[in-house]
């Protein structure tokens, strides 16, 4: 039982650090509140949908920015809009902010600026994914050890 407590402690601490570092914001907490016995891994499920979404959009933007015959900034803008929306819905604050910054460069049709933003966005996404996967691993370990995931109140 002590082992479970340790894991739970680790989970709480790690979760707090994500908030402190601004990786996730209050919306992430809001989603945690939607978890219960019937849906204990809801956040993990939404996050994996988000990861897929994010990777696809980042990839599309990278391709769009590479077009020699001219960059379709409208498409880039559309991708940013979608990514900003979903990152906001899941509480991925730094990814969301990276999208907001990106938007001004895409509005200005600035290819170089966009490339830099895309790099920044990719970086924030990688960071988020790594950290959330660490958190979710802890979650699974707790459940596997017969414990329950500490709920936020």
């Amino acid at each position: 039982m002590d082992f479970v407590n340790q894991l739970q402690r680790k989970f709480i601490d790690y979760s707090s650090s994500l908030h402190r570092e601004g990786i996730v914001d209050d919306q992430f907490t809001q989603l945690r509140k939607l978890e219960d016995e019937n849906s204990p891994h809801f956040v993990m499920e939404v996050a994996s949908l988000f990861f897929e979404d994010c990777e696809k959009l980042i990839n599309n933007m990278a391709i769009a920015l590479e077009q020699k015959q001219g960059v379709d900034f409208k498409q880039i803008d559309e991708c940013i809009h979608q990514l900003k929306g979903s990152s906001s819905s899941i509480g991925a604050m730094r990814v969301k902010n990276a999208c907001i910054a990106f938007r001004s460069f895409s509005d200005g049709q600035n290819r170089e600026g966009c490339l830099r933003c895309l790099q920044q966005l990719s970086h924030e996404y990688s960071l988020l994914k790594n950290k959330l996967q660490t958190l979710f691993r802890l979650e699974k370990q707790i459940v596997a050890a017969g414990g329950s995931i500490p709920r936020v109140h």
């Binding site: 809001q30 939404v46 949908l49 979903s86 906001s88 907001i100």
Partner: protein, 236 residues
């Protein structure tokens, strides 16, 4: 205001061709959720289920109209005239490719069969002009994304209240109509030309309603909605 959707108010006691619609008085609200984002659909679905609603989630305005049976290009064959669960509330994203939430709102409000269904718009953009436009077109409420549980609870609360009150009013009206029919000779009992009831006016906002009064003032918790809508997100 009675229409063939008047059956909706009575559905707790009716049984229609193989669909057992009779339930206890705690009947679940059936929400049609429309959003092109998979992540957002998953979130809104969960928010609604936790709020004890039945949810049908679709990814476009077009599919929403198909579900309702309003798609002009797909003529639904009238089998028993009832194609699925009655929709009590539509909650839709504003920005969608193809048909926007605003266009969906208009189509719903233009339809005689479905105009009474409250429509709630969700948007990540907190633009007053957009909010006003939606409310003027008859939207019940406008939620700024990201959507929280408190937003959904508030909307379900007054939708449930309106449904209950609608049932009571419809029942009372039906009883009065029954009495009147006995008293007068009616040639064309065109109920659809009866004056708008207070129920319909609370379901669709009048153009003059300000943002503050756009939501049906039935529960104290609607007080936080103007703040929510006028909230300036700190990141923008």
């Amino acid at each position: 205001m009675a229409r063939n959707g008047g059956v909706a108010w009575m559905r707790t006691t009716e049984k229609i061709d193989g669909y057992d619609l009779s339930t206890s008085d705690t009947e679940e609200v059936h929400v049609l959720a429309v959003d092109d984002s998979l992540v957002d659909r998953k979130v809104i679905e969960r928010l609604l289920r936790i709020s004890s609603c039945k949810v049908t989630a679709v990814d476009s305005g077009r599919r929403a109209l198909q579900y309702l049976g309003l798609d002009e290009e797909i003529q639904k064959k009238e089998t028993n005239g009832f194609d699925g669960l009655k929709v009590d509330l539509i909650i839709t994203d504003y920005c969608m490719p193809g048909m926007t939430g605003y266009e969906l709102l208009k189509k719903v409000k233009e339809s005689s069969a479905f105009r009474e269904i409250p429509v709630v718009i969700m948007s990540s953009e907190n633009v007053i002009a957009r909010i006003d436009r939606c409310l003027e077109e008859g939207a019940e409420d406008f939620i700024v994304k990201p959507v929280k549980l408190s937003d959904v609870k508030r909307i379900i609360d007054y939708t449930t209240t309106e449904l209950r009150e609608g049932e009571q009013r419809e029942g009372a009206r039906a009883r009065r109509r029954g009495i009147n029919k006995r008293k007068q000779r009616e040639g064309d009992d065109d109920l659809s030309s009866s004056p708008p009831s207070t129920l319909s006016s609370s379901a669709s906002s009048s153009p003059s309603s300000s943002i503050q009064s756009a939501t049906a003032p039935l529960s104290p918790s609607t007080l936080d909605s103007p703040t929510r809508r006028l909230k300036m997100t700190s990141s923008e």
